[in-house]
């Protein structure tokens, strides 16, 4: 608490360990951000809807926003670890200072973490708002999804009671799913489209998506639903409007024949 101490404090950025930390921080932050983003986004794979694309960009944004914090903690930890180490069965001498707090560091830390928290919240809310709006799309195709142990059934109420175990969707057309269950709780997950909603017995829940890629994607049950939960999966075929119409027609004919 002497004058020496205060003068040190005034030029705290000049001390060697602070410089070392700053350099490490500058090096580690982009590494963490880059590795975190690339590894995660590559594992997710290509999105098949705008919803999934925004999930991916959200995760990228969050990773980059977290990288400076993780980088700082890592830089401080590495600096400490590279610093004054002692081995042996007896403790080293006590440190040559007794710093018990630093109001400035603490306040900065709390303010920055509050701002980051608000940032995460606002970014999330913007996307959430967009997802919620798509439920109200009047032009959307309505499909009833029914889970039961251990299959999914898809009803197309707007197309003469067509029913299928494999989901067919036209590309670039909004879809609203009305989801329920016959027995226990299931969870309807269209992996590459980034949507998931629980199927609850006795209730109907809703989720919406607009598939924007032609292809075959995965539907998996994401809630433990008993013996064969692992096998409760199926495919979704996203096809062109023409293919979709002809599929509906054959299905309707099939239903009529049966």
């Amino acid at each position: 608490m002497s004058e020496l101490h205060t003068s040190n404090k005034a030029q705290w950025w000049k001390s060697a360990d602070v410089k070392k930390t700053a350099i490490l921080w500058v090096i580690l932050t982009p590494i963490i951000g880059y590795v975190g983003t690339v590894v995660q986004l590559r594992s997710i794979g290509a999105p098949a809807s705008e919803v999934m694309a925004s999930v991916k960009s959200l995760m990228g944004i969050f990773t980059w926003a977290a990288a400076p914090v993780a980088g700082l903690v890592a830089a401080l930890a590495v600096t400490a670890l590279l610093g004054d180490r002692h081995y042996g069965d007896n403790p080293p001498e006590e440190a040559d200072h007794e710093i018990r707090n630093s109001p400035r560091a603490a306040a900065t830390w709390v303010i920055v973490s509050t701002l980051l928290c608000l940032f995460a919240l606002i970014t999330g809310l913007i996307v959430l708002q967009k997802d919620a709006k798509s439920l109200l799309d009047a032009k959307a195709i309505n499909i009833n999804v029914t889970g039961q142990q251990w299959v999914w059934n898809f009803d197309y109420p707007e197309s003469d009671g067509v029913r299928s175990e494999v989901l067919y969707l036209p590309v670039n057309k909004p879809v609203v799913f009305h989801i329920t269950s016959k027995d226990v709780k299931h969870s309807f997950w269209v992996v590459q489209m980034g949507i998931k909603m629980d199927a609850n017995p006795g209730y109907v829940t809703e989720t919406a998506v607009t598939p924007d890629k032609i292809g075959v994607f995965d539907i998996r049950c994401a809630e433990l639903c008993g013996l064969l939960h692992a096998y409760m999966q199926n495919k979704v075929h996203v096809v062109s409007q023409a293919d979709y119409d002809s599929w509906l027609k054959t299905r309707a004919a099939l239903e009529g024949a049966a």
Partner: protein
């Protein structure tokens, strides 16, 4: 009332030469009375309980019988261990005398006191330590079964029913083990000495809370052979009402465990509030004490809800009520709400004492004061307070209340602020310290690393749109293992090594502690980073087989899991060998400044000859340059 023993308590109590009842009860009588009661009730119920009517919509005679047998086991066991002697003697106006109380405290009984209803907090602490190790061993074995099964795609050699039961069993007993792993052994053994008390506020409640856990374990073991807990640890209804008789074992286990937690919570909280040494103001109370109190105080609102949710589940099963049956007016969402109102505070019940224990060790191994003690308290209090307001983030995609998603996203993300404070305290304490390179010190670095990954992935999961993709996938499993195991268990293992000398009188073998540390930490990160990747690629949780695109990630995870197992076995070997013939520990091997290091090894029955008076906080390390 120090050492006024007139005659040994074990001397013949009456003319007939028989030992008094209080001295004849132990774990053997408890097991016998418990088993006999269960069998008697089981047989009586089989004979006298009417058959279900052919026309009944639910058949529940078997459920009634198994629940009644489990209750009989519980009452029988607690009677047989002697839990009722104190209250009944008191009620009948013949309260225990001094010698009998000394007997209960385990005076002069050697090893036998560990198998009795002993009230000494140090005995209870050791009992908790041993039972935690046993549960972790069983839970770890189950984890290895899961990982072995998943190491091989499509070719799972465990039947799906057995696999689901193993997953549920692993989940619930690991949750219990991690809840008790700090507050049990160290909260009981160390905490009273650390605050300068002679024992807990309610020593008999302390014994009660431990023996309740012992009573709770057989039901969960038996459940494995009566259909298993095939629902995962969360036991969602209506899946649970559909499951076999094993669910009754789960229900009994949770109810008994919840009582234990409530009893321990009331006891520990009272002890800390009322029994701190003279001069130990709140500003001079060690941070570990704050962690323990926050943990058990959080359990106080959480576990009654858990208890209630299981009672309702039992009623649905046995009496065809319809709390959770939507066909008859109930709702599975009700169960989910009750479960997670317990479930989210519960993860902080596990985490907070672990972080607090490492905060306690940080100044010792860096030889400098704890950085920002007040911010540490603020962080612990902030997490505790917010944690009861975030439960529905487990239900974002349940469809229960879409309008509540945004508010719950807010409360969940706010938790990152107090969590950040805990990071600052640890990192600030490492800054300009003189690092004493020991396993507990490295555990602080390990916690920072693991908890950073666990925390950041938690932010993705707290975000509603991202959660719609990640929920129910292996990503979630990896995330909570990073927090509960990577952070929680790391702190507990460091605590074990740190307090081992005081609890056993011997040093923990240094080499073994290092070997196990690196095996566990490397194995852990390999295993769960692999699990993050398969989760991102779309593998759901709790599956016993998976598509071939997940092969590589699962193989990595399984290899990591085997490395963890190797590390944990080394640690177990370290515990056993060091306990039996480790180097005798000096009174204060770490040169620490908290009170538990001021008492001799082994710690005398009443800890302190004269109670200490506190004049400063225990972090007065370091000296200013002159």
């Amino acid at each position: 009332m120090t050492t006024m023993m007139n005659r040994p308590a074990s001397a013949p109590g009456d003319a007939s030469g028989r030992k008094p009842l209080i001295e004849r009860l132990n774990i053997v009588t408890a097991l016998v009375v418990g088993t006999v009661s269960a069998i008697v009730i089981w047989q009586l119920a089989l004979h006298f309980l009417p058959q279900d009517a052919e026309t009944a919509s639910f058949f529940n005679r078997e459920d009634k019988i198994s629940l009644m047998s489990l209750i009989a086991w519980f009452v029988g066991f607690m009677t047989g261990i002697g839990a009722l002697i104190g209250p009944f003697r008191w009620a009948f106006g013949k309260d225990l005398n001094h010698d009998e109380n000394m007997f209960l405290a385990g005076k002069d009984q050697g090893i036998k006191r560990y198998f009795r209803y002993t009230t000494d907090h140090k005995v209870v602490g050791i009992q908790y330590l041993v039972i935690t190790i046993i549960i972790l061993f069983v839970g770890g074995t189950l984890a290895m079964l899961i990982r072995t099964n998943l190491g091989h795609p499509q070719g799972g050699w465990i039947h799906p029913q057995a696999y689901n039961a193993i997953v549920g069993w692993h989940g619930i007993i690991m949750i219990v083990a991690t809840i008790i792993m700090i507050t049990g052994p160290f909260g009981n053994f160390i905490m009273p000495i650390m605050i300068g008390a002679r024992d807990m506020a309610f020593p008999r409640l302390n014994a009660l809370s431990f023996w309740l856990i012992v009573a709770a374990i057989p039901p969960v073991f038996i459940s494995f052979f009566t259909g298993g807990i095939t629902t995962g640890w969360s036991a969602y209804n209506p899946l649970a009402s559909q499951a076999g008789l094993g669910m009754n074992g789960y229900i009994a286990f949770i109810c008994i465990f919840a009582i234990s937690t409530m009893v321990a919570g009331a006891n520990i909280t009272t002890t800390v509030v009322k029994m701190r040494a003279k001069g130990m103001t709140w500003n001079r109370t060690p941070i570990f004490i704050y962690g323990v109190v926050a943990s058990v105080a959080l359990a106080l609102p959480a576990f009654p809800v858990f208890f209630l949710s299981q009672i309702m589940s039992a009623m649905d099963r046995a009496f065809a009520t319809s709390f959770y049956n939507s066909a008859a007016g109930g709702s599975g969402w009700l169960y989910e709400n009750l479960f997670w109102i317990m479930g989210h505070p519960e993860v902080y019940v596990i985490l907070i004492p672990s972080v607090a224990a490492l905060m306690e060790m940080a100044p010792v191994f860096t030889r400098r004061p704890l950085f920002s003690f007040n911010l540490a308290i603020m962080g612990i209090a902030g997490i505790s307070g917010l944690s009861v307001l975030v439960w529905a983030h487990h239900m974002y995609i349940s469809g229960w209340a879409p309008l509540l998603n945004a508010p719950f996203m807010l409360t969940t993300e706010l938790i990152s602020i107090p969590t950040g404070m805990l990071f600052l305290v640890l990192i600030g304490t490492l800054w300009r310290g003189r690092l004493w390179m020991t396993m507990p010190l490295m555990s602080i670095f390990a916690l920072l690393w693991n908890f950073m990954i666990g925390g950041i992935t938690g932010i993705y999961l707290s975000d509603v749109p991202a959660d719609a993709f990640l929920h129910g996938s292996m990503y979630v499993t990896a995330h909570f293992h990073y927090t509960l195991m990577g952070a929680g268990l790391t702190g507990a293992l460091a605590s074990l090594v740190y307090w081992f000398p005081k609890m056993t009188g011997r040093m923990f073998d240094k080499t073994l502690s290092w070997v196990s540390f690196w095996l566990v930490q490397i194995g852990f990160n390999v295993a769960f980073i692999g699990m993050f990747l398969v989760g991102l690629a779309g593998q759901p949780r709790r599956v016993e087989s998976y598509a071939s695109i997940f092969n590589k990630g699962n193989l990595i995870t399984t290899m990591g899991a085997y490395t963890i197992m190797a590390g944990m076995l080394v640690l177990l070997h370290g515990v056993i060998s060091s306990w039996r013939n480790g180097v005798k520990a000096p009174m204060n091997p770490w040169q620490a400044k908290t009170l538990e290091w001021t008492v001799a090894n082994p710690v005398p029955l009443e800890n302190f000859e004269t109670l200490p008076v506190i004049t400063s906080d225990p972090y007065g390390y370091g000296k200013a340059q002159s």
